[in-house]
């Protein structure tokens, strides 16, 4: 990392703008956060591969000036595992929606975390499937209305950060599109961290989730994120008295275990010295 930071604009493909997302969608804010994180770290563009799944957020690779692999719904982490395992020099950044990364892709998520492969995941959680018309996902809270749960969701949602932590990821964090400077930092720390890094970014989908649940416009939805977020370092968080609907933001877990490639090379060294 050099002293002179790059400009975030170098990482964004201007010819592809304006982006395709709805007005008020949080995706653009997370896109900006990721570009600023890349700039802060001065990432070499040809050593970065952005891997995406399918969904509104899965279209994000179109806007980056680095290499990209846009795979299939739910499988982004599996594609990314191949890229990183085969070439450890690359910074591999994986962008998945909550439907993509958790509902259909949950198995890959658990195992990528367990394998501790050195990827950085930015999971955009908008509580529903945006691209296909606002159906329920595994991160739609109990009772909420979606196009497939018109009378309320009978299923509970998952605390995905706890799950990824339990599976053994080296870095787990949650941010929101209201807390932008923090989100920038959570992402750049995640990229910097060796091993599996997971950042859940809470973001509004006013078009589907907001409208159906009468959560107000995008501004109102972002304000709600602000009001319900509790910084993990705050006294409230330390005392553990979170009120209903609140959630923790910040770095939630950190480990220093060997990542997959390091562990693999250690075994290779062992057979060489035999």
């Amino acid at each position: 990392m050099s002293e002179q930071n790059a400009s975030w604009k170098e990482y964004i493909k201007e010819s592809m703008l304006p982006q395709m997302w709805c007005s008020g969608c949080g995706n653009g804010i997370v896109l900006g956060a990721l570009a600023r994180a890349m700039a802060k770290l001065n990432l070499e563009k040809n050593k970065v591969v952005v891997v995406t799944g399918i969904g509104c957020w899965g279209k994000a690779d179109d806007y980056f000036t680095c290499s990209a692999l846009h795979g299939t719904h739910g499988r982004a982490l599996a594609f990314a595992t191949g890229v990183k395992a085969a070439n450890p020099e690359l910074d591999v950044i994986v962008l998945m929606g909550d439907g993509d990364g958790v509902t259909i892709g949950g198995n890959h998520l658990i195992h990528a975390a367990r394998r501790n492969i050195d990827l950085t995941v930015v999971l955009l959680n908008n509580n529903n499937y945006g691209m296909t018309g606002g159906q329920a996902s595994a991160l739609t809270p109990l009772g909420m209305v979606t196009s497939t749960t018109k009378y309320g969701n009978p299923e509970r949602d998952l605390d995905i950060c706890s799950l990824v932590d339990a599976a053994g990821a080296n870095y787990v964090a949650r941010g929101t599109v209201y807390h932008v400077p923090q989100l920038d930092k959570l992402i750049s720390d995640g990229i910097n961290k060796k091993g599996f890094s997971f950042i859940e970014a809470l973001s509004p989908c006013p078009t589907h989730f907001g409208r159906r649940n009468k959560l107000g416009d995008a501004v109102k939805m972002v304000k709600t994120l602000k009001e319900n977020a509790v910084n993990v370092n705050s006294s409230q968080a330390q005392e553990g008295d979170l009120k209903e609907g609140s959630f923790l933001i910040g770095k939630l877990a950190e480990r220093y275990d060997d990542d997959f490639n390091t562990a693999y090379e250690k075994i290779r060294q062992k057979i060489k010295t035999k």
């Binding site: 592809m16 563009k45 040809n46 050593k47 591969v49 891997v51 399918i54 690779d61 179109d62 000036t65 680095c66 290499s67 990209a68 692999l69 846009h70 795979g71 299939t72 739910g74 499988r75 982490l77 599996a78 594609f79 990314a80 595992t81 191949g82 890229v83 990183k84 395992a85 085969a86 070439n87 020099e89 690359l90 198995n107 890959h108 658990i110 195992h111 394998r115 997959f260 693999y264 075994i267 290779r268 057979i271």
Partner: protein
């Protein structure tokens, strides 16, 4: 491979596949174990460590083929091995490799089905799955080995064709061939023809990952090189970015076919165990594990002229060679361990002028020569 000399070794079919892959330059394996293919994974796990490659045991076959594609895009030759149920799981992402033009090799050591069926028993019932398993208009290359030597040789060929055409190649083996053991010759490295993908040589900013060169196959850069490029499972233009207009889509799909079909003659592989000039009473068309019992049967029926044509390149289907052979025989017999998959292709090509008979078995057992002899007697009466 051991040392500098070609060597005779006693080996299992699945082991020969793993050896062939290493010899072809494969340095990445991602997979999920399933009988009767697991020995390929077991050997690959060891060979990848020893040769500077990487082995990843993935959580399932959906992930295995995805990881293979990701690795292939970093410039590695990558492969996986599975059997029917796992092969079914790979179909969606094989589509990514086809549309994204990513070279890779998938080994399917067929077993009985449908579903878990007679778990590990032999069958040849994934032929149509291999050819047509994915959604959308698409084309892959399918090769079928019939011996342990062919397991080695055709694995090398599979990598070569996948690199040459930027297409996934399926090595469609079967339980009998995969688990058979026999002596084979491992060539010396310098005797081996190894093909590597064409890399771009233009200025980095000029590179278009899907702009065909004169032979219809675009050069492929590697992630991490000077070339920055996008690969997508969505319809795309030459730049690799999504492009949805009908003209582009039509052209792209057509090119994916013609880059292979136009050059099929270069890689139609088959073996004939008779004199091609001779007029026959009966031609037996075989592939994989039906070849040996068919040859034994043909030799034992002494009073008729019987030929055995073994198909190796199974897809795109070798119409020309089958039509030529059909013109010189009074009848054709297609024995296969399924209820009728390859016979339909043979009928399509030859059925109008030559009677085509089948011998089909789908009970988890291979053919005995005597069963084929009995059918020969019936159809040549």
């Amino acid at each position: 491979m051991n040392g500098q000399e070609s060597s005779k070794v006693f080996m299992q079919g699945n082991a020969a596949i793993a050896e062939g892959a290493v010899a072809a330059g494969a340095r990445f394996y991602a997979g999920y174990p399933i009988t009767p293919s697991s020995e390929v994974a077991e050997l690959a796990s060891q060979k990848m460590l020893e040769t500077g490659g990487v082995y990843v045991q993935m959580e399932d076959e959906l992930g295995s083929i995805a990881a293979v594609i990701g690795a292939a895009l970093t410039g590695k030759k990558a492969f996986t091995a599975t059997s029917g149920p796992g092969f079914s799981l790979m179909q969606e992402n094989l589509g990514v490799a086809i549309l994204g033009e990513v070279p890779c090799v998938v080994v399917n050591v067929q077993r009985s089905g449908p579903s878990t069926g007679l778990a590990t028993k032999p069958a040849q019932a994934d032929v149509m799955q291999a050819c047509w398993g994915r959604h959308g208009d698409q084309l892959v290359i399918v090769l079928t080995p019939a011996s342990v030597q062919e397991c080695f040789d055709l694995t090398v060929t599979a990598f070569n064709l996948s690199e040459q055409f930027r297409v996934p190649v399926i090595l469609l083996a079967d339980e009998i061939v995969g688990h058979m053991r026999e002596a084979i010759t491992l060539p010396r490295p310098e005797e081996l023809k190894v093909v590597n993908r064409k890399k771009p040589d233009c200025a980095a900013e000029k590179y278009l990952p899907f702009s065909p060169s004169s032979d219809g196959v675009p050069p492929l850069a590697s992630f991490g090189s000077d070339y920055i490029f996008h690969i997508t499972s969505s319809m795309h233009g030459e730049s690799g970015y999504s492009q949805n207009d009908p003209a582009n889509a039509g052209e792209k799909i057509k090119r994916l076919f013609s880059k292979i079909e136009d050059r099929l003659d270069e890689f139609v592989l088959y073996k004939h165990y008779y004199d091609l000039q001779e007029d026959l009473d009966l031609l037996i068309i075989t592939f994989g594990c039906t070849t040996r019992p068919a040859r034994a049967a043909a030799m034992r029926v002494g009073d008729k002229k019987i030929g055995v044509l073994q198909l190796i390149t199974m897809w795109p289907f070798p119409d020309k060679i089958v039509a030529q052979a059909a013109a010189k025989t009074r009848a054709i017999l297609v024995p296969e361990l399924n209820l009728g998959q390859v016979i339909r292709e043979v009928e399509r090509v030859a059925g109008k002028q030559t009677p085509v008979y089948g011998l089909h078995k789908s009970n988890g057992e291979g053919f005995k020569p005597s069963e084929i002899i009995a059918r020969i007697e019936e159809v040549t009466k």
